[in-house]
């Protein structure tokens, strides 16, 4: 029983799957071998892609937060929560790939270098956003207060990065890949871009689905309201109009 809506999603899903497979192939076979770390370095392409995905999602979240405060249209709140959730997922992936890269490449699971610390703090920050939302019942207030927190979090992000960078310049941590953008083999750059595009594409797809979820929730609430009104006053004009 596949409805029309399901059918239109098939081409996009196939496109996503194709991109994912191609990106994987590129990372494994097209990208050249790295001198010191060899195979495990290939995680880097997806690691960077996940960060890009996270920043894209969090940028969209900021847009949603600001737009909600000034327009009060629920669509912006839906964008806000959807992007933060997907952003957190992307960040989680970034942290996991970071850990799985660190152990074989440098012998340690974790280090408090600027980038890793920043990613971890951002992860905590946006999880707090989601927790905050869970603790406020009333939808309007929830949207407004989480938008305010979301804006603060977004403003904080560059400060987190800058402070960690400055801190780590003063007290260098044991390891760091010396800036992957410094003198990258052009083949590596190409594969990196493929991975970035793939992950951003997946992020946007999942975001769209999550947005749809919020929209449906809203629709359900409206219908529920109509049903409640109907049962409370079966012949009133208001309930008839709503349904």
């Amino acid at each position: 029983m596949i409805g029309a809506r399901m059918k239109s999603r098939v081409p996009i899903t196939i496109a996503a799957a194709a991109l994912i497979f191609f990106a994987g192939y590129a990372a494994l076979f097209i990208a050249p071998d790295e001198r010191t770390m060899h195979e495990i370095q290939r995680v880097f392409y997806f690691h960077i892609g996940l960060w890009t995905g996270m920043y894209t999602a969090l940028g969209l979240a900021f847009v949603g937060n600001v737009a909600w405060l000034f327009t009060r249209k629920p669509q912006w709140d839906w964008l806000g929560v959807s992007s933060v959730e997907v952003g957190v997922a992307s960040c989680t992936g970034g942290l996991i790939t970071g850990v799985l890269w660190g152990k074989p490449a440098w012998g340690i699971w974790w280090t408090w270098d600027a980038r890793l610390t920043t990613c971890f703090i951002l992860w905590l920050l946006y999880i707090s956003y989601l927790i905050l939302r869970g603790l406020i019942e009333e939808p309007q207030r929830r949207a407004t207060l989480s938008a305010i927190f979301g804006i603060f979090a977004f403003l904080d992000a560059p400060l987190v990065y800058a402070s960690n960078r400055l801190w780590r310049t003063q007290h260098p941590s044991p390891v760091l890949f010396g800036g992957p953008d410094s003198g990258l083999d052009p083949r590596m750059v190409r594969v990196m871009l493929i991975a970035m595009v793939t992950i951003v594409f997946v992020v946007l797809l999942v975001l769209a689905d999550r947005y749809r979820l919020e929209k449906l929730r809203h629709e359900l609430d409206e219908l529920q309201l109509a049903a409640d009104l109907r049962s409370a006053a079966p012949n009133s004009v208001a309930s008839k109009e709503l349904s």
Partner: protein, 224 residues
């Protein structure tokens, strides 16, 4: 009524309320002291270690004690519905926020004024010669804490679990401030004390960014 005047009135009210009972201030100071003492049990630091980890300990104590102290800022209003009365007054929401921020700044500074000398004695760190610069660092750091903390106190006051929520929201946001404050303080506690201008500028920048954001968002923060 100008913003400054309104803020001053709110500030006076907050101070009057607190100094009548003084419970908030004493609890904050005692809590911070407990953290400072526990550290010595947990880590048994040598003189060198005290100097090294002292700044971090001090600021963690301030952050934790501060985030507990900031809760009542808006929670009190919530339980008495006094915020509605405030809102109806012909003052800008930012004036109310500013008044509370200043009150919190005074309370926390009071606590710090007692805690820092005690800390210096307990961990044998000399503050002679760096007192003025230390005060500058403390003020800039506490400002950041109080600015963001007061805003988040308003946010958390409408949610469940607000005592747990406030630190949860506040502490990740304050991570850059913590780093900057600890580094600046550390530079002052060192064998050859120095004032780290880069970190001071960072602290000032942090305060300005979040004060501006608070000002821009104050209407939304205190709305119905």
């Amino acid at each position: 009524m100008t913003t400054a005047r309104a803020a001053a009135i709110v500030l006076a009210k907050e101070l009057r309320l607190e100094f009548r009972a003084r419970e908030l201030l004493t609890s904050t100071i005692v809590f911070a002291l407990v953290i400072v003492v526990l550290f010595s049990f947990a880590f048994d630091p040598t003189a060198g270690e005290s100097r090294r980890y002292g700044p971090g300990l001090l600021w963690i104590a301030f952050l934790f004690a501060g985030s507990l102290m900031l809760n009542p800022s808006f929670a009190r209003e919530q339980s008495n519905s006094t915020l509605d009365a405030l809102r109806m007054a012909p003052v800008s929401p930012f004036a109310i926020l500013l008044g509370k921020m200043l009150a919190n700044l005074i309370f926390l500074s009071f606590a710090e004024a007692i805690l820092v000398p005690v800390f210096a004695v307990l961990y044998n760190i000399s503050l002679v010669g760096v007192a003025g610069q230390l005060i500058l660092v403390l003020v800039l750091g506490t400002l950041g804490l109080v600015i963001t903390g007061t805003v988040f106190s308003a946010v958390a006051s409408h949610a469940r679990l607000r005592e747990l929520l406030l630190p949860l929201l506040l502490l990740p946001i304050l991570a850059p401030l913590l780093i900057a404050a600890v580094e600046s303080t550390g530079a002052l506690f060192a064998e050859t004390p120095s004032l780290d201008r880069a970190w001071l500028a960072f602290l000032a920048g942090f305060d300005i960014v979040f004060l501006t954001a608070s000002w821009l968002l104050s209407d939304f923060l205190l709305e119905e």
